[in-house]
Amino acid sequence: MHLATYLGLLHTSLGTLADAFREVAKGHGDEPDVERTCEVLASRIDAQAEKLSPIVDRYGEHRETEPERLHTAEFEQTRTGGVGLLRDLQDLYALSSFTDITWTVVGQAAQGLRDKELMDVVSACEQDTARQLAWLKTRIKQSAPQALIVAKG
């Protein structure tokens, strides 16, 4: 069963995503709303990972060898300036979209397996991921015109 592999992947990618949000928070302290919201979202991603943990353990016993290397891109260093902020938020958007679709994949399997516990976790975490994406999109839309048209440096 490949679900175990996928759960592992999801678990790792949540860790990567939370780190990335924290990194952006740290790198953009001059944008207090970005700093603050990224921290709040990071701690919610930690909570997602925590909810998933027991399920990863449960399926982990049945883990098969990976069909192929599944991994998420790591977030590298934050950038500076208006365009830098925009790029960093876009990177977060990409990472967050990856966990979003991974939750969807896992959710489908949970339904197939009639795993009620996993289904509940997926539904709560999908909502939370939608919130991340919505915030990122809102903030990106706000920043884009200024960064691309008038920002210097």
């Binding site: 001059d30 944008e31 207090p32 709303d33 603050r36 919201t37 921290e39 709040v40 979202l41 300036g81 208006g82 919130r131 919505a134 915030w135 999109k137 809102t138 839309k141 706000q142 884009a144 015109p145 200024q146 048209i149 008038v150 920002a151 210097k152 440096g153």
Partner: protein, 715 residues
């Protein structure tokens, strides 16, 4: 005394109807208008003394321009030509996003509307906001999130009719004295309503309360989640009303579920019994009126906490009836108009920037290309405007009728921004202020009483303020200044006619009536003629939402709303999918601890606030001898316990210091709860905002003046 001239007071959001006494072409006093529904003849100390005594003192009467680093006197033509040249150069070089406008909550409706049209249809910049961002942005946001549009549901008469009055973060005795007098009529009279006050300080308002809840600064949302939970838990709700008129009950219930009295008491450091008493008063009184102000608006999770007040009323079906409703208060006298007319960046007439049909409507009205009107993202809020200026992408900043060098958070940073070489700053004011001293061009403006216009108070009551006297020679009304700029810039409509077609206040008002027609804030029935004599008149009738129908219809609403935790916008498609169709939203969020938490280095929580004797940064009130004498200097308030712990007594001078700056002020003992200190924010010297953080609420974008951590030592 030669004559009385009709007006209303512009020193707080109550907007008391008054008459101005004129003798020999000068203002010599004011009196309350007995037939006004707001104040019934009363005036408070600020209105009586502060509204007119500054008029003859220290006025700016000639434009100033910076040459070789110094502000020098110049003439109007030179000043305006300089402004227009810079504006046009920047437009040619980098377009309208290089322009920002930072206005006020103290101008008149006509001035805001004119400025709004200049910004949106003339220049096409989304960078326009008022200092109302600092005072009432959360009121507007909470009303939009819950009811679909701005607009205060309740009215002043509800004070006379309620059985319970809740003041959430509202020290009414200091901020709206005449409103408070109306409360005292009830509290000291027969059939006393029960009074609940939420405030971390034991203010005179709190002393009058049956229940005083003093949560730690930054924990309002936990408290409110606890109150909502208790009301649901005890079944003090009107299930039928909730089912018919609201959306989101199950989510609300789930969100507040963890906030048991004990849990809340632990977070807020209050007694669980007091919490339950307050909940019971809310849950069992026949008619409840709530007001909300800066203690909530300028604090952590401001919009979420303020929405919970709306939710309490919706749960009980207590909205729009006599004596039952909510006033998401305004702070400044004309803040409501900044919001209505689009001078805070929103589209005029409570139109929705995310609704293409609303943008089209404005484009038709103004006869401009809809693409000119900025609507690709939410309007830029003040804190972001300052950030863009700090980063050098806004290079033209026009400040009118406000003093950000005292009123914004983290003043050291604000001064640095204002001093930037690449930022051209226009400051328009009646007096020299901390801000004008840092401007490139200073324009002398007329004051209240020296110009004509209307404004709308905290309960939607519109007053006409007539011109009583001429401004001092050399000063011009803000409206005339904006019109002159528009004229010199040559803003045109699609037919090549002047974009702005009015030439005076009444013409602007009539244009606004058309703009507001059919919108929630519909002024089309009002006119200068109707507003003359008698009382001020509310738009929308005495109360809103008596029928339980809210302006949430997707085609009509002012905003599609936000996630209260992060401020993420709800998309038009998601909003429509919920089919609100006139139902109100029961929105909620979990409590999260504020970013600044006391530690060994900065062990105290500092909150800032108001004194009864002053308004804003004291440009007027410090020039009124009675007010100035009553509160000439800033101070810091400490609890008796904390003072003893630090070995301090009354009058000792201490340094209060945060990570951002410090003030040195004498100590006053009393009023605060242990661990919390208070600084008045009015003073330009030893200014409280040296200490406050650059941080804001995710939804309303209102800065968090009420929470910074500080240390204290004797000097």
């Amino acid at each position: 005394m030669d004559r009385w001239v009709q007006s209303a007071c512009v020193l707080c959001s109550n907007g008391c109807g008054c008459d101005i006494a004129v003798k020999d072409g000068r203002i010599v006093g004011v009196r309350g208008r007995a037939d006004d529904i707001v104040n019934r003849g009363r005036l408070g100390p600020k209105g009586l003394h502060g509204s007119w005594q500054a008029h003859g003192k220290d006025r700016l009467t000639t434009p100033l321009i910076r040459r070789n680093g110094e502000l020098r006197e110049t003439d109007w033509d030179t000043a305006m030509t300089t402004i227009v040249r810079r504006s046009q150069d920047l437009l040619a070089e980098s377009g309208p996003l290089s322009h920002g406008f930072y206005t006020s909550g103290q101008l008149f409706l006509e001035e805001y509307y004119t400025l709004g049209v200049i910004g949106k249809a003339g220049l096409g910049t989304p960078h326009m906001d008022g200092n109302t961002r600092l005072c009432t942005a959360t009121a507007a946001a909470a009303l939009k999130e819950t009811f679909g549009s701005d607009g205060q549901p309740a009215c002043h008469a509800d004070i006379d009719l309620c059985d319970a009055l809740f003041l959430f973060g509202h020290n009414m005795a200091a901020t709206q004295t005449v409103m408070w007098a109306r409360v005292l009529d009830r509290v000291k009279g027969p059939g006393r309503p029960r009074l609940v006050v939420v405030d971390p300080r034991r203010t005179p308002t709190a002393e009058a309360a049956d229940v005083h809840l003093a949560p730690l600064p930054g924990t309002n949302l936990a408290l409110l989640n606890g109150l909502v939970r208790a009301v649901i838990e005890h079944g003090w709700l009107d299930r039928e009303y909730v089912d018919r008129h609201t959306l989101g009950f199950e989510e609300l219930k789930a969100t507040v579920e963890p906030y048991t009295p004990e849990h809340v008491a632990g977070i807020c450091r209050i007694s669980p019994a007091d919490l339950m008493r307050a909940a019971e008063i809310f849950g069992t009184s026949e008619r409840v009126l709530s007001t909300v102000l800066q203690g909530f608006y300028q604090s952590h999770q401001a919009t979420a906490a303020s929405c919970q007040v709306n939710n309490l009323h919706l749960l009980r079906g207590q909205i729009g009836g006599p004596g039952s409703g909510v006033l998401q208060m305004n702070g400044q006298p004309t803040a409501q108009n900044t919001r209505e007319c689009g001078a805070d960046g929103d589209l005029p007439g409570f139109r929705n920037w995310d609704n293409p049909e609303h943008v089209e409507e404005l484009a038709r009205l103004w006869n401009v290309d809809p693409l000119t009107i900025p609507h690709w993202a939410p309007p830029t809020h003040a804190m972001q405007i300052w950030r863009y200026a700090e980063q050098g992408s806004i290079r033209f900043l026009w400040i009118s009728a406000t003093n950000p060098a005292v009123s914004l958070p983290e003043l050291g940073r604000i001064r640095e921004i204002l001093r930037r070489e690449d930022l051209f700053v226009v400051a328009q004011d009646a007096f020299r202020t901390e801000t004008t001293e840092l401007a490139d061009v200073v324009l002398p403006a007329a004051l209240w009483g020296e110009k004509q216009g209307t404004f709308t108070n905290l309960s939607r009551v519109v007053h006409l303020s007539e011109q009583a006297v001429a401004p001092p020679a050399g000063a011009r009304s803000d409206l005339d200044i904006f019109l002159d700029y528009a004229h010199r810039m040559g803003f045109r409509d699609r037919d090549g006619d002047p974009l702005i077609k009015w030439k005076d206040a009444e013409g602007a008002f009539d244009a606004w009536r058309e703009c507001s027609r059919g919108r929630p804030c519909d002024y089309s029935e009002l006119s200068y003629e109707r507003l003359r004599g008698g009382s001020g008149i509310p738009w929308g009738g005495e109360r809103l939402y008596a029928d339980g129908v809210f302006p949430t219809d997707a085609d009509y609403c002012e905003d599609y709303g936000h996630d209260l935790l992060t401020g993420a916008s709800t998309t038009p498609a998601d909003y429509r999918a919920r089919r609100p169709d006139g139902r109100a939203f029961l929105k909620a969020a979990e409590y999260t601890p504020a970013q600044e938490q006391p530690d060994d280095e900065y062990p105290f929580l500092c909150t800032t606030g108001r004194s009864v004797y002053h308004f804003h940064t004291r440009t007027k009130t410090s020039r009124a001898p009675e007010l100035q004498k009553a509160a000439p200097d800033p101070w810091v308030e400490l609890s008796a316990g904390d003072a003893t712990g630090l070995g301090l007594s009354d009058g000792d001078v201490v340094r209060v210091e945060s990570a951002r700056g410090f003030v040195e002020v004498p100590v006053r003992i009393g009023r605060c709860r242990d661990g919390v200190v208070f600084l008045p924010f009015h003073y330009g010297f030893q200014a409280a905002n040296e200490l406050t953080p650059t941080e804001w609420d995710p939804v309303s974008k209102q800065p968090l003046f009420k929470i910074s951590t500080v240390r204290i030592r004797r000097v």
